[in-house]
């Protein structure tokens, strides 16, 4: 199957241009949260980690809703579809565009978090918890993105986004129940236990499978409607 690479590249660039300012603002807000985290005081730690989660979740929802839901609602989608693209080209451009618009702030904040943990008096074992937390948001993001590409209903999309994102709370509580994960978090050494590694592996695997399946599903379609 032939992909119209130049147009895909332009469409990704277009989405990047449309959202770069807002995404930069999310990164700035995230860096503010990281500063709080870096103070390594209990109140600042809780406030900072909460703010960090809010910022990453907000950036994820922003990227999905602006590139897909708003485009559908404001009828700019019709304009994009009139350009020389096939449904597969369009899907690929949306997937890659989203991985870029969300991926950049996501990676910046993930790296920032790790740097803050490692370079401050915070126990280095927190790296495991932080990575699993980002892993969950990545998974929730991938599922929400797939739903947004598949389902037109605004209600279901909101449900998928909010539902999957707030699951981060029970997820953290569940992690607290697993002794082999909970134990090393307070230590200054980074010791990946088997359950922690399995959870992270599952998060990454499911994310990739969901996105590839979405691309395959749309690639089979000959037309948009």
């Amino acid at each position: 199957m032939n992909l119209n690479r130049p147009v895909i590249r332009l469409l990704i660039l277009k989405d990047w241009q449309l959202f770069e300012k807002q995404l930069a603002a999310y990164v700035l807000a995230g860096l503010g949260a990281l500063t709080l985290l870096g103070l390594a005081r209990p109140w600042a730690f809780y406030l900072g980690s909460l703010a960090l989660i809010v910022v990453v979740v907000a950036a994820a929802c922003f990227a999905i809703s602006n590139s897909l839901l708003v485009e559908r609602k404001e009828q700019t989608l019709a304009f994009v579809m009139s350009l020389p693209v096939s449904p597969l080209d369009f899907t690929i451009s949306k997937l890659l565009g989203n991985l870029l618009t969300f991926g950049v702030p996501f990676c910046v904040l993930l790296l920032g978090t790790l740097v803050v943990i490692l370079s401050t008096p915070l126990p280095d074992g927190l790296v495991i918890l932080a990575t699993l937390l980002f892993g969950h948001i990545l998974l929730a993001y991938s599922v929400s993105l797939a739903v947004a590409m598949q389902v037109e209903s605004e209600g279901w999309n909101t449900f998928a986004m909010i539902g999957s994102m707030v699951l981060v709370n029970p997820f953290l509580m569940a992690l607290g129940q697993i002794e082999s994960i909970q134990g090393p978090i307070r230590q200054d050494a980074i010791a990946w236990s088997l359950p922690a590694a399995l959870i992270l592996g599952a998060q990454l695997l499911v994310s990739v499978v969901v996105l590839v399946h979405t691309a395959w599903w749309h690639g089979r379609k000959a037309a948009f409607y």
Partner: protein, 294 residues
């Protein structure tokens, strides 16, 4: 001669609507006007012709490309603008031009600049501040400046003020200078179709009820005013779309005019007072009200 597009046996079913068995083609260099009430299937047909929708049955060929399979190649040569298509409100016309120009190698920069002047658009202003008419003109500019071989326009003049409408129509008329370029446009405004179209396609309830060159189409119809009492007698004649009596005056709308009709009418007791050509608008309304047979 190659056809700008040709469809045959075209069917597309939606839960509440179906386009049924449409055969239609447009020779290159011609303008076709698509008329029909809301929900007649105009938008569905245009979506099929751009490859956005796949037909349930039948074949579609646009500029030599089979759709929807070859929609990417076809869309390189198609300029499509529909009423429900919007541009990015937060971005300027210049930004859109830059995006579209990089996709279409045939982009005509001089023509785009001329259209900006003619349409009186401010290219650096975010489109959120444009009026409806300005947005329509911006969209048309993006379509026209890429010099497409086929223009597909869904309601290009709907909602425009008279001045903007005149500008848009004059610009469309300019396209006629090039005999390699073809236009299909749908419109509620039958005056626009009557003026610009070489042929007329008339959709009603998902079916193509008439398709003819415009002059022949208009020539078939007449409004005949008669005096006399034979209205009931002639009302069943197949060539008469509508017979209405007001006292002794009888108005007849003829869908298949022939020169001997006045004689036959007077033989039936109706003396013909005057015979007038009909505007497309009048034909359209008459045809829809009398069940769509045109």
């Amino acid at each position: 001669m190659t056809a700008a597009f040709a469809v045959s046996g075209l069917c597309k079913r939606y839960p509440e609507f179906a386009l049924q068995d449409v055969d239609l083609s447009l020779p290159e260099g011609q303008v076709m006007g698509l008329v029909g009430v809301n929900g007649a299937g105009k938008t569905t047909l245009l979506r099929l012709l751009t490859g956005l929708a796949a037909p349930d049955a039948g074949s579609i060929e646009v500029l030599g490309h089979r759709l929807p399979e070859a929609q990417v190649a076809a869309k390189r040569d198609i300029g499509f603008a529909s009423e429900d298509m919007r541009l990015y409100r937060g971005r300027s016309l210049d930004w859109h031009i830059e995006l579209v120009r990089r996709i279409y190698p045939a982009w005509d920069h001089a023509y785009a600049s001329e259209l900006i002047r003619r349409f009186d658009l401010r290219p650096a202003q975010p489109l959120g501040g444009y009026s409806h008419g300005q947005r329509v003109k911006a969209l048309l500019l993006l379509c026209l400046s890429r010099r497409p071989r086929l223009l597909l326009l869904d309601e290009p003049t709907t909602g425009l003020d008279p001045v903007a409408r005149a500008e848009v129509l004059e610009t469309l008329a300019d396209v006629l200078r090039d005999e390699g370029r073809s236009v299909l446009f749908s419109s509620h405004n039958t005056h626009d179709v009557e003026r610009l179209a070489d042929s007329i396609a008339f959709l009603h309830q998902g079916r193509l009820v008439a398709h003819a060159d415009k002059e022949r189409f208009l020539d078939n119809w007449r409004r005949v005013l008669c005096l006399g009492g034979g209205a009931a007698e002639v009302s069943g004649w197949p060539e008469l779309a509508q017979v209405r009596a007001a006292g002794s005056q009888v108005e007849i709308k003829v869908r298949a005019w022939s020169e001997d009709l006045p004689q036959r009418l007077s033989a039936a007791g109706l003396s013909v007072q005057r015979v007038d050509p009909m505007a497309l608008e009048d034909i359209f309304v008459t045809a829809v009200r009398t069940g769509g047979a045109a």
